[in-house]
């Protein structure tokens, strides 16, 4: 077969159109496109791509099945190791993971593994999802705290092993960051809800409006007969810079801006009751996915100008390549090598500008990235009326505060055994962002999986 150097182009909404709505930007492959893209795979013997996938999806073989038109077979194979493919296919940083190792990528464009994964997962959602077999009920209860990807994956795996699992979620809707953070135009909420429903159909009970540590404690759960607990509570505590003016009206954390927009549907205000104040000129501080999501939401909420203010250069930006590209097409202005030092306010307490210092790149730091150093006297002002801080998040201290004996790091991360996911307290396991700090969906899922296996072993031996 002749080598096909270029990927099949996935259709997207036109930038000029899409910044007026919250519909999904990337429209997905058709069956023909998927088969065509799958046919680019070289069927490598050692399938290097697979070593880049944190949950070891059998990439080569599922792509082979797609090429042959056996979509049902392909999704069954993926689901052996990945329970949320419709989500991963959309949001995994593939260029850092599976696709980074694809042999095709050495000289040409790598096979679009993520998009193919998304295609077969969507195909299954359209054609009816086949549930995996569950072991007979064991009559033993496990509690999962938090319904993000870590909690959902752990719950799903334990249900398949025959445990009766209850997921407790503080918010009114399950899904974690998938539902409150990542916007509709990148990950439709219907996809998340469908995945949550599938977990429910395995027999998992999902209870919302329960903040563990407040509504019930872990001790209460143990008394109620839960023999093990998994903490998948994420890293929800937003960071601020600690610069003057940060509490002015019009300064948001990305979490607040995105939660209002996505979870509370402020873009449909006033049909929905929650308002959002998105000004005409918006500056988002940060360079990750959260920053890209915030600035692209701002454009869709009607901002005329959306800035990304980032203290390093484009190379160091942690955002997914696709999101960065989409943001550029949508007209986002990148103020790189710029570090905010002060938010300027009007007399009545509203934002009127963001004062920054220019930076240059110096020596490499411990993360291997070149450290930004301020240039003296280079202050300049970006005139904006809204500032969104997307500086990363750390684990919410609520649980550790209310649960005696849980060891945490100095930045609040839960400390667990790398093999089993068990915390310093027997029977209490943890994984995902609560352990690692903000990371990725697929790593959170991987941690949920590992902990499910750890919990199973723990309960078997009990």
């Amino acid at each position: 077969m002749p080598l096909k150097p270029k990927r099949v182009v996935m259709p997207t909404q036109e930038p000029r159109e899409r910044i007026k709505n919250f519909n999904e930007v990337a429209l997905g492959f058709t069956e023909e496109m998927a088969k065509e893209e799958a046919s680019r795979c070289l069927k490598c013997k050692d399938a290097a791509c697979q070593q880049g996938c944190p949950v070891e999806v059998k990439i080569r073989d599922f792509i082979g099945l797609v090429a042959a038109g056996d979509f049902a077979g392909a999704i069954a194979l993926i689901k052996e190791t990945n329970s949320l493919p419709a989500i991963c296919g959309r949001v995994c940083p593939q260029e850092e993971q599976c696709e980074k190792y694809c042999l095709m990528g050495r000289k040409h464009e790598p096979v679009a593994i993520g998009r193919l994964e998304r295609f077969v997962a969507d195909w299954e959602l359209r054609h009816g999802v086949k549930l995996p077999a569950c072991a007979p009920p064991r009559g033993r209860k496990v509690a999962v705290v938090g319904s993000g990807p870590a909690g959902l994956t752990c719950a799903g795996d334990l249900a398949r092993l025959g445990y009766s699992v209850t997921v407790f979620e503080a918010l009114h809707a399950p899904g974690g960051v998938l539902i409150y953070g990542i916007p509709e135009f990148r990950l439709p909420k219907a996809v998340v809800m469908a995945e949550v429903d599938n977990i429910r159909r395995l027999g998992v009970e999902v209870v919302t409006n329960v903040a563990v540590g407040r509504t019930v404690t872990i001790e209460d759960l143990m008394k109620l007969g839960y023999e093990a607990v998994f903490l998948g509570t994420g890293a929800g505590l937003p960071k601020f810079m600690g610069i003057p003016g940060e509490n002015l009206c019009g300064v948001y954390s990305a979490n607040e801006f995105l939660t209002r927009t996505n979870l509370m549907k402020a873009y449909l205000f006033p049909q929905y009751d929650t308002p959002i104040k998105c000004g005409r000129r918006v500056a988002v501080v940060g360079g990750g996915n959260v920053a890209m999501d915030s600035v692209r939401c701002a454009l869709r909420l009607g901002a005329e100008e959306g800035h990304i203010v980032y203290r390093r250069s484009e190379q160091e930006m942690p955002a997914r390549a696709e999101e960065l590209a989409h943001a550029k097409h949508e007209g986002v202005i990148f103020d790189l090598l710029s570090n905010p030092v002060r938010v300027l306010g009007t007399d009545d307490g509203w934002v009127r500008g963001l004062e920054c210092l220019r930076m240059e790149l110096g020596e490499e730091d411990s993360s291997g990235r070149r450290r930004p150093v301020p240039i003296k006297g280079s202050e300049f002002v970006i005139e904006v009326d809204t500032v969104i801080m997307a500086l990363g998040t750390t684990p919410n201290p609520l649980l550790a505060r209310t649960t005696p004996g849980l060891n945490i790091t100095d930045w609040g991360g839960l400390i667990v055994d790398a093999e089993t996911g068990q915390t310093s307290r027997p029977g209490i396991f943890a994984g995902g962002d609560a352990v690692t700090g903000s990371a990725t969906v697929i790593l959170a899922m991987g941690a949920g999986k590992k902990a499910a296996a750890g919990i199973h072993r723990y309960l078997e031996g009990k």
């Binding site: 009114h172 505590l237 937003p238 600690g242 449909l268 929905y272 104040k277 609520l398």
Partner: protein, 283 residues
């Protein structure tokens, strides 16, 4: 879904609901609050726990109608359901075990003051309560507060009931009369709390207020509720809502409280769901 067990009109615009929420009732303590959402399109709004009964699995909330959500809530009836009811949130009030405390409640702020006064009273603290309202018909929970106070003063701004004047007038007199006061706790409109803080500041009397910034999640995840206390940024939903009144930056809090004034007007103007308020019968 959380069923409304009973409803009482305290004033034409202040309504008391007893809500079935056994888990919350088990854990609730004075000073804490819940986050409520009444319909799928609804906003999450914080409301103080005004009372709780673990035996009956019931939590009492008192709602003052000020905008769209609270007005829709005011139309809910006994037997209707509240969609979401999360809590108890926030740090409980610190209840001292001796001495004397003045509890000041303004307007519907009397509702959150009540369980605090009661807890103090039960622990043997000498409780003086001052409750105030604009006018006679807005005075709420007078009997309830009286039953848990050693002394009660009532004020109305217009003098239509009890004593004419502001709650701070009474407080000032008590201080000047050298009444022994170990602590003051004040809950009510921001202007009132600020005035109480200014009244006690010159005398160095320890004073607490319960801040009511705009909130979204109520679990420490969004930072909408930030207030500045002693020059530091704090999240009212997890670090508060009760703070040292002499450290709070009230001017900032007042500005932040008005952030959505225009949108709130728009929401009210919107035809929206009238009458029904989205409340549905339970079960």
């Amino acid at each position: 879904m959380y069923k409304i067990l009973s409803k009482r009109m305290l004033t034409p615009v202040t309504k008391l609901f007893e809500v079935e929420a056994p888990l919350v009732a088990q854990k609730a303590q004075p000073g804490q609050f819940v986050i409520v959402r009444i319909r799928p399109e609804g906003e999450r709004i914080p409301l103080t726990v005004a009372d709780f009964s673990p035996e009956r699995g019931a939590v009492t909330i008192i709602v003052q109608e000020v905008g769209k959500t609270t007005q829709m809530m005011g139309r809910l009836k006994e037997g209707d359901c509240i969609l979401d009811f999360l809590g108890p949130l926030g740090r409980p009030a610190e209840i001292r075990g001796s001495g004397s405390v003045v509890c000041v409640g303004g307007g519907f702020g009397v509702a959150p003051i009540f369980p605090i006064a009661r807890a103090l009273y039960r622990r043997g603290v000498s409780v003086t309560s001052i409750i105030g309202a604009r006018t006679r018909e807005l005075v709420i929970l007078e009997e309830e507060v009286k039953a848990v106070s050693h002394r009660l003063f009532v004020t109305t701004d217009d003098g239509s009931y009890a004593r004419r004047g502001l709650v701070t007038d009474v407080l000032q007199e008590l201080i000047e009369a050298k009444d022994p006061i170990d602590e003051v706790i004040a809950i009510g409109p921001m202007v009132m709390m600020r005035a109480v803080a200014e009244t006690t500041r010159p005398y160095g009397i320890k004073t607490f207020v319960s801040m009511d910034p705009i909130m979204v999640d109520g679990t420490g995840m969004c930072g909408a509720c930030r207030v500045e206390v002693g020059g530091k940024t704090r999240f009212a939903c997890v670090d508060g809502p009760i703070f040292d009144a002499h450290q709070v930056d009230f001017a900032l809090a007042q500005k932040r409280g008005k952030m959505y004034a225009a949108e709130q007007q728009r929401a009210m103007a919107e035809p929206g769901p009238c009458g029904g308020a989205g409340g549905s019968p339970c079960h």
